[in-house]
Amino acid sequence: MAASSVAASELLYNMKKQILILHPKASCLIRRISTRSSRHYSQPQPRAKSAPEQLVGVVGLEIHAQIHSNTKLFSGSSVRFSAPPNSLVSFFDASLPGTLPVLNRRCVEAAVMTGLALNCTINRKSLFDRKHYFYADLPAGYQITQQRRPIAVDGMLTYSLLGGKKRNQVMRKNVHIKQIQLEQDSGKSLHDDLRSQTLIDLNRAGVGLMELVMEPDMSCGEEAAAAVRELQLILQALGTCQGNMSEGQLRVDANVSVHRPDEPLGIRTEVKNINSVRYLARAIDYEIRRQIDVLQRGGRVQNETRAYDSKTGETVPMRDKEGLQDYRFMPEPNLPPLIVYEDNTSLPTGTDACQAVVVQKIREGLPELPSVKRDRLVQTYGILPEHSFTLVNEDGLVEYFEAVLKSTKKEPRKVIGWVTNSLLGHLKQHDMSPGLSSCPRRAAGTPGNGTHLLFGCQAGVPGNVEVIRQDGLTDHPRAGFGTC
């Protein structure tokens, strides 16, 4: 069921895009008849069984991705992690009166690149707005964002899950991207309860963010985690965001509700404070279970914001966000509309191509995306899709695999098992990443023929890896040496 509806949904989506490209002025509406995977409106279906259907989870995501750029979105101060507090703050970031925003072109390109990679429609003209609220880490009393008309809309992220009994079946799923908008990051507040004060660090204030809104097309923590993981890989491949959740480069808030299929959506809660992909899955699953529990006991789910506590594995209501905020949106008067051009021919006369953001040029410069890479590995090496999935999922593993093949000249299908099981397992045991080891070694014997491959590398140092013909596997990695 899942596979066919996903394929159909994708087909319709692509059709719609094609129609709009060929006939830009046509309005195109494709109605979706309610099925299990469609959440947009419900239509009662004849029920064969008499038992009531189970409550299921509905998950949407709001993701803030910090743009990987040298300077901030509207000012020239640097973007760096872990700098001394308030050392990367320009006059504009501190909201000194009389300062004005100046848009950073790299941030626009990053947003367009990301939009293209996610199959979005890039809005030729987009607008900036002010979103007002008072908070100590927001010096101007408002955030500059794109509420009315963001830079990119209507995209699709395809992600894969390993499912089935042996968790080796690759299942493809889609999630719709509602929009991508450019906005400013806020500063950081550190609460010092001892002295009853709050310390503000404005280093992060004004850093460029892409806010990605994912429609509630997911149904559980695992799906959300897989979608976010895929997004991380895409952003890292593009270079538009480093995607590190623990460093705050990628922040994910989940919108969770439960309902019976074919019934209207339930009340949703927003879950924040999630610092890793793993916690994301746990937080969502906990929240779904909590809501089901509340409803089964005859209670009502409240529309609230909850924080994930990684220690207890629970979500708790957040005291800060009481009541609905009216953000008093207003157009940002200091920034004219943002225009991006489709190609060089659509540039106004006299405009230097280097001065403008040209979508065609960005499209041509897109690097190989993870999904394409996976397919290529399967085609080139004849390995199984689930192996390709694992290879691409680990930073540096593809390069390592290809290098091993090059120097050992062994058959890919024989090497892949070793790489994805023994090597990866060993690396994880020692908390290392394949990206650290640089040169592969010649194997004296074929892996899988009773020959064990030993390697050693110093953590943190691109080391030499030595493959030794040996019968047993030792536990201690040692600084290797050898020819490369």
């Binding site: 909201s95 004005l100 100046v102 007002h132 009393g141 408002y142 008067p333």
Partner: protein, 381 residues
């Protein structure tokens, strides 16, 4: 000397018949003599003399920076001036010292002009009389003219007329001969109004022509830096120096290629003047109407085409202006919370309490009223 035009003065300075230092001292003395006008919030005496000295050196060498080298100017106190107190005539910024110069100020300084001081204004440019300042109102220099005092029998100290606003201090400074040109700001007439009341020339440039970088904003989408001088030709000279695209202000446009200089022999037959009929509004004073007619006749007699035109939405303009202005004001004033700069209240029970009292103490009624109205207009519900 003090009533020369820019062109005449510039020539005299180049010829050496007037010394920049002597000129500067004369202006500073006059400022002291006209203190009762309250035109200046800050007088930058030391800096002015230093700049005048440098100008003198350059002029003696025959290497002036431009037509304004050595010429005293004043700046409204809502333009940022590096290391010089910039208050916007508000308690909120009474001790605020910006770390940078506004673009238009920098351009004048780059010309070698000599900064006399920062002029008084309505608090945060909200007003049309220069009466709502934390430092007291600005008095119109004409309050002390013989014609006024004789006419009204006024006692000089207690009876005076307003200078108009919100750039009242700048207008009074130029009208009282303490500087040859001044910068004001104009959103809804704040440069033109005081100039009219003080009998000098004001130019409100088209939005986008002059950079607003460093101009503490009232309404970002309408503010412009304004030019106040004693003659139209002087205003043209200053416009030429100040106009132009600024990378730091995304709403600026490149300066037009046609020169701004007014030709010596200007033929009035080439211009067409429109008289908007809606401006003949109820409440217009007889005196104003008389002057208006007199000038229209003058142009007609000189050969210009004078025609009646209609601006049918005039009656709605003031209401629209107020709504838009207050909405932006509410937004622009949000940054004044006492955290990063400016006045901070001693109340520290919580961040909210600190914000609220800081803003209550720092802003006057006019500002607070406009913020409340603006927020009301911006609210969704």
């Amino acid at each position: 000397m003090l009533s020369l035009t820019l062109k005449e003065l510039s020539l005299a300075l180049r010829e050496g018949s007037i010394s920049p230092i002597e000129l500067c001292r004369k202006c500073l003395n006059r400022i002291k003599k006209t203190q009762h006008l309250n035109a200046y919030i800050t007088v930058t005496e030391e800096l002015a003399l230093k700049q005048a000295q440098e100008a003198e050196t350059r002029l003696l060498r025959g290497a002036p920076k431009g037509p304004l080298d050595g010429i005293p100017f004043a700046v409204k106190d809502n333009f940022c001036t590096e290391n010089i107190k910039t208050t916007c005539a508000s308690r909120m910024l009474k001790d605020y010292v910006p770390p940078y110069n506004a673009t238009v100020v920098q351009k004048l300084l780059d010309q070698g002009a000599v900064l006399m001081g920062k002029t008084n204004m309505d608090e945060f440019a909200m007003g049309s009389g220069s009466t709502d300042s934390a430092f007291g109102p600005v008095r119109n220099p004409w309050s002390y003219s013989a014609s006024y005092t004789e006419q009204t029998g006024a006692a000089p100290d207690s009876d005076w007329v307003v200078s108009g606003g919100s750039s009242g201090g700048s207008a009074a400074a130029v009208a009282s001969l303490t500087s040859y040109l001044a910068l004001g700001s104009d959103t809804g007439g704040s440069t033109r109004n005081p100039a009219a009341l003080c009998g000098i020339v004001a130019l409100k440039p088209t939005y986008g022509l002059l950079s607003r970088h460093g101009l503490i904003p009232l309404v970002n989408s309408m503010d412009v830096p304004g030019i106040l001088t004693r003659t139209a030709r002087d205003a043209a000279i200053v416009l030429d120096i100040l106009q132009g695209q600024d990378m730091r202000d995304s709403t600026t446009v490149p300066a037009p290629s046609s020169p701004t200089e007014l030709p010596e022999d200007f033929d009035v037959k080439n211009i067409c003047i429109g008289i908007p009929k809606e401006y003949h509004a109820p409440g217009l004073s007889d005196e104003t109407l008389a002057q208006w007619s007199r000038v229209a006749d003058m142009f007609e007699r000189a050969g210009a085409r004078v025609e009646q035109v209609s601006l049918p939405h005039t009656q709605y303009s003031i209401v629209c202006y107020h709504v838009l202005c207050q909405a932006e004001v509410a937004s622009n004033m949000a940054r004044f919370d006492g955290l990063e700069y400016g006045h901070r209240s001693k109340v520290d029970a919580s961040t909210e309490a600190m914000y609220a009292t800081t803003r209550h103490e720092g802003f006057n009624d006019v500002v607070r009223r406009r913020i409340l109205c603006g927020n009301y207009f911006l609210l969704k519900q």
